[in-house]
């Protein structure tokens, strides 16, 4: 069969794996963006910078404090999430009553500043971060590095846990209700402003967690976020803002689509997601899983 397609199986499965890994990052990032947009009405353009901050935070924890990867996996999202909470308290909360455009401009500007500061301090060539799980397994049809398998399993677990909390728990019902009608939820006695702050902190922490996860797989570099975020926004547009599961499925699916394009028509691999986006916008402007709002 592989001869028929003119593609060696090693290349096919290798690209599928890479696609799944990219998809894992798309899913975690678009999940956070969707949750933040739903409740805050802010298109969080800082998301890429916060992903980068997560990776750098892991690097600093290792280099400056000797805290290894597994510690950073817990600490970095908390630290970067806290910076998100400060950001929400100081700036974002002044914009909720305004058009989306203002939140977008603020967060875009902030991400330029953050990226500039990191580039000034660390240069733009990137810093290495050691692989905490060296080695791999030969599956017969391909070689599977342990760390890559970990990325997929862990991010899938985080995505599903987030889905479960939002769709199946009491806390999640507050979040869903406040996304629809914050003023009524608050009139039931729930401190919605605090919930908004914590939700933003959570979404930012999720981006930072993706950053930590990415650090050993790619270089830690100030521009790693801006490279990723454009694709992630396309993923969000394709999936639509309406559904948590939609963000997860779209993220992984588009990673795979990208990987397969690399095998069969490499010339289009960097544009295929945007072609899909254009088609989806033509046929379903609210996105595959989205609802008009």
């Amino acid at each position: 069969m592989f001869e028929l397609l003119g593609v060696p199986p090693q290349a096919l499965f290798g690209q599928l794996l890479l696609g799944l890994i990219n998809g894992a990052f798309y899913a975690m990032m678009s999940l956070g963006l969707a949750v933040i947009f739903g409740l805050l009405n802010v298109i969080n353009f800082t998301h890429g910078a916060q992903y980068m901050m997560g990776a750098f935070c892991a690097w600093m924890l290792l280099e400056w404090a000797g805290i290894p990867y597994w510690g950073a996996l817990v600490l970095a999202p908390v630290i970067v999430g806290l910076t998100g909470i400060v950001l929400e308290r100081l700036f974002l909360r002044r914009l909720y009553h305004l058009d989306h455009l203002y939140g977008l401009l603020l967060t875009f500007g902030l991400s330029l500043i953050v990226e500039g500061l990191f580039r000034r301090e660390f240069g733009s060539s990137g810093l290495p971060y050691g692989n905490p799980m060296p080695g791999g397994t030969n599956l017969g049809f391909m070689f599977l590095p342990h760390y890559r398998a970990w990325i997929i399993v862990f991010s899938l677990a985080i995505c599903l846990a987030t889905w479960f909390v939002i769709e199946r728990t009491k806390l999640g019902s507050y979040l869903r209700a406040a996304t629809e009608r914050p003023e009524l939820v608050q009139a039931f006695g729930i401190n919605v402003p605090r919930m908004i702050t914590l939700t933003y902190g959570f979404g930012v922490g999720l981006a930072a967690l993706a950053g930590v996860l990415a650090a050993p797989a790619y270089n830690v570099s100030p521009v790693m976020g801006s490279n990723l975020i454009i694709v992630v926004f396309a993923v969000v547009v394709i999936g639509g803002m309406g559904s948590i599961m939609g963000s997860i499925v779209t993220g992984f699916a588009l990673g795979i689509v990208e990987g397969l394009t690399k095998v069969f028509y490499p010339e289009a691999s960097s544009t295929v997601i945007f072609i899909v986006m254009a088609i989806v916008l033509l046929l379903r402007p609210a996105g595959l899983f989205g609802t008009q709002r």
Partner: protein
């Protein structure tokens, strides 16, 4: 305030409210005594709904005085007001589409002990029990209204603000809601009701305040409704 003369549960005085630039409430003043059912009657746009939202703190730009059991609420955010024991049922019912019926019912947190247990709410509104797994907004209008009232009975709030609970509902459901309000009164709840339908209001309420242009212009005890029908109809423009 130990020396309060009345047993007022809710005292509103000199209440002003704005929506952006437009001044909607012009010194609303009324009181609701403990265990009473009181209505705000008036035409569309008179400021009845706005009054409820100002009491609840949903309308932020408000001034004057709103006292609940002697405590001033005017500067409190709505979540704190709810925690003191006031609950609000909005005119458009506010059923959440992304929550199922059970989640909608359980959404408002318990603010005080002494709310109705779930069993009693199911007894009042048997339809709800059969549809717990349905999406909230898939219910009929009447069922949504029952859900909107049912969920605030659980919380232990003692003062209920109901905004046009009978609007657009079939007569048999209006009767069911009337029976519910009478039962709530029996149970010692205090109810402030906004109504356009004064025939319905006169079957449940103790007193009626007539609202025009953002202020109270008249108060009619329910016992005196019979001799004041013509006057009330003139107020309401029916």
């Amino acid at each position: 305030m130990a020396d309060r003369a009345s047993d007022a549960e809710l005292e509103v005085a000199g209440l002003h409210g704005h929506y952006g630039e437009s001044h909607v409430l012009h010194g609303m003043a009324f009181e609701v005594r403990k265990g009473e059912v009181v209505t705000l009657l008036g035409r569309n746009g008179a400021g009845k709904t706005t009054t409820l939202k100002a009491v609840m703190g949903i309308l932020r730009s408000r001034s004057g005085s709103v006292r609940f059991r002697g405590a001033e609420l005017i500067a409190e955010p709505s979540n704190r007001i709810a925690r003191m024991g006031i609950a609000f049922c909005p005119e458009e019912r506010g059923i959440f589409a992304s929550l199922n019926v059970y989640e909608n019912l359980m959404l408002p947190p318990e603010v005080k002990p002494g709310g109705l247990p779930l069993d009693e709410i199911y007894k009042l509104f048997p339809n709800l029990k059969e549809r717990l797994g349905s999406q909230g907004t898939k219910l009929s209008g009447g069922e949504q209204q029952m859900l909107a009232i049912g969920r605030i009975l659980r919380t232990g709030a003692t003062l209920l603000l109901l905004d046009e609970p009978t609007e657009g509902l079939a007569p048999v459901i209006v009767q069911q809601i009337g029976a519910t309000i009478r039962l709530l009164k029996e149970r010692g709840f205090t109810v402030l009701l906004v109504e356009q339908n004064f025939r319905f209001a006169s079957t449940v309420a103790d007193r009626h305040y007539v609202v025009e242009h953002g202020r109270v212009v008249d108060m009619i005890p329910n016992a005196a409704v019979g001799e004041n029908v013509a006057k009330i109809e003139a107020y309401l423009g029916v």
